[in-house]
Amino acid sequence: MKNLKMKKEFKVIADLLPNNTRVLDIGCGDGSLMHLLRIEKNIEVRGLELNQDNVKECIYKGLPVIQGNAETELHQFPDKSFDYVVLSQTLQAFYEPEKVLKNLLRIGKSVIISIPNFGYWKVRIKLLLFGEMPVTKTLPNTWYNTPNLHMCTIKDLFNFCDEKNIIIKKVVGVNENKTSLIKKSNLEIKNLFSKVGIFLIG
């Protein structure tokens, strides 16, 4: 189920990546994205994954994966050892997202981050009109069992990069099967209508 939903996002990420590069996928899950990148783009992939079953699944598929925690074990990857580091929808689940982000920018020449957008209109309405923590397709957990500790909006991450002098190379908003480029000029409206934001930075 998770993978079907993520397909569009993976497609966007794959389109952002040039062929024949070296890519590290942080929180690579069962290896779906790695598999796609290897087959379609001849990309040399590596994954980092915490969950034992997912690690096993990657190994079955012949995908190189290291079992470990991105929060504490990114030090094992040398500086600029990858062309791109991909972090798909997990930034908000780290205790210290800023520290993780810094590490990603150290390891990769560029970084791709996707976030579930807390600024999406349905999310806003849920909180504003119903006074409840939003539960949507992109944010399926309830307040008491969500792994998400640091929810943010596309606009938040945009501003964060500006503040920290992190170069934003491209931002893509995803809503179902539609994608659109996000720039400063259309940020307000895209922040309202994108379910997921995908940032190419660094």
């Binding site: 096993k56 995908l63 079992q67």
Partner: protein
């Protein structure tokens, strides 16, 4: 129990009927001595296919031998890795050709301290040269040449077998398509050396040992050797695993005997393991092999350290550790992963959660075996494709 002298006589007869390669090419050992015309005893399982792309080399651990699976013809007991290797097992001998050689310094037919010194016409004993993990690995390379295998599909091994494998990959970076070092370390820690020293001291403290000359009298320092084995067995189990298996349970009795007999099950277990071991293993071999392990420090061999050791590695690695292994810890194994990552190698890593300690790699540990199988099968598909291109 038959007398040990009789037992060894019988073992020697049986050892004459096992597969052996006489290595004629001189081998310069790390200690500086050169050996030539020495035997490497080995066993194979399954069939090498026409493309010669289904060969898997297994390196054995300290007290292992070449008899990986099936029945060991010398001891008549099950092979030491019957849980992982065999028809339909994780390393499926219906599909793969499995090779394992007895290490030099060992006592199952390969060149070891029991062998006759051609100069003195007597067994070497302590005149046998001190060997290293690198020497063991170089000697086994001759076997691959003999079998006509240019590139292995996979090489694997746990514990000292894993150390040999790391050495093998560093020394011969293009000989294995993939590698699975299990529960090992790239160098022996102070604690590892200390435990080995305890084993050696136990043997040397036995008066029968007599500076290694017991071989001349066809005897064996069995008390010392048994204690050495007991030390090993303690280090192979985890504290929790041991508690769960034995606890304070008494051995076939209702209460304490108020004596020094084996009242507790754990004592009985250790004694049994210790005395079963003396029937199949040579005390001097334990000295030589533990020494080789202690000298093992892969980063010391390369100026740039461990990262340099794995430079230009084309081999695809899967490192496996066990959460409750305190002999070769998850950290020891992760250090290898970090070095492989830093050298840009293709590396996977999995930590298997278990209470069974270092021994886990020899046991029926489903998560471990599934991971091992998944990796090797996927590597086989890749290797076949690569060869086709």
């Amino acid at each position: 129990m038959p007398s040990l002298a009789g037992l060894f006589f019988w073992m020697n007869i049986k050892l004459e009927n096992i597969k052996k390669l006489d290595v004629t090419k001189p081998l310069k050992l790390d200690c500086g001595k050169i050996i030539k015309d020495f035997p490497i005893a080995y066993e194979t399982y399954g069939k090498l296919n026409d493309n010669k792309d289904n060969a898997i080399l297994v390196f054995h651990a300290l007290t292992g031998d070449q008899f990986v699976t099936g029945t060991n013809p010398i001891t008549n007991k099950e092979g030491w890795w019957v849980t992982a290797v065999g028809p339909g097992r994780a390393i499926d001998t219906n599909k793969y050709f499995v090779i394992c050689a007895n290490v030099i310094g060992g006592c199952m037919g390969s060149f070891g301290p029991k062998d006759i010194n051609p100069v003195t016409k007597k067994p070497y004993g302590l005149d046998f040269p001190v060997i290293t993990i690198k020497d063991m690995v170089k000697a086994q390379e001759s076997l691959l040449e003999h079998l006509g295998i240019k590139k292995l599909l996979c090489a694997t091994g746990g514990s000292m077998g894993g150390m040999q494998l790391l050495q093998f990959c560093a020394t011969f970076p293009d000989k294995a398509f993939s590698a699975v070092p299990i529960a090992c370390s790239s160098s022996h820690s102070a604690q590892n050396i200390a435990l080995n020293e305890l084993a050696r001291q136990a043997i040397m403290a036995d008066p029968v040992w007599d500076n290694g000359k017991y071989v001349l009298k066809n005897s064996q320092p069995k008390n010392g050797l048994a204690v050495a084995r007991m030390v090993g067995h303690i280090s192979y189990l985890s504290e929790k695993g041991m508690q769960e298996k034995f606890g304070r349970k008494l051995q076939e009795k209702a209460d304490y005997e108020f004596s020094f007999n084996a009242d507790f099950q754990v004592e009985s277990y250790l004694r049994h393991q210790g005395y079963a071991f003396v029937e199949r293993f040579d005390a001097n071999s334990v000295l030589y092999i533990t020494r080789a392990m202690d000298y093992f420090d892969l980063s010391k061999q390369f100026k740039g350290g461990l990262v340099e050791a794995f430079k230009n590695q084309k081999t695809k690695f899967l490192i496996i550790s066990f959460s409750s292994d305190w002999l070769y810890t998850t950290k020891d194994n992760k250090d290898i992963v970090i070095a492989l990552n830093a050298s840009g190698a293709d590396v996977s890593y999995s930590e298997i959660v278990t209470d069974k300690g270092h021994d886990s790699f020899l046991l029926d540990e489903p998560e471990f075996l599934k991971t091992l199988k998944g990796f090797i099968d996927s590597m086989y598909e890749k290797f076949k494709n690569e060869k086709r291109i």
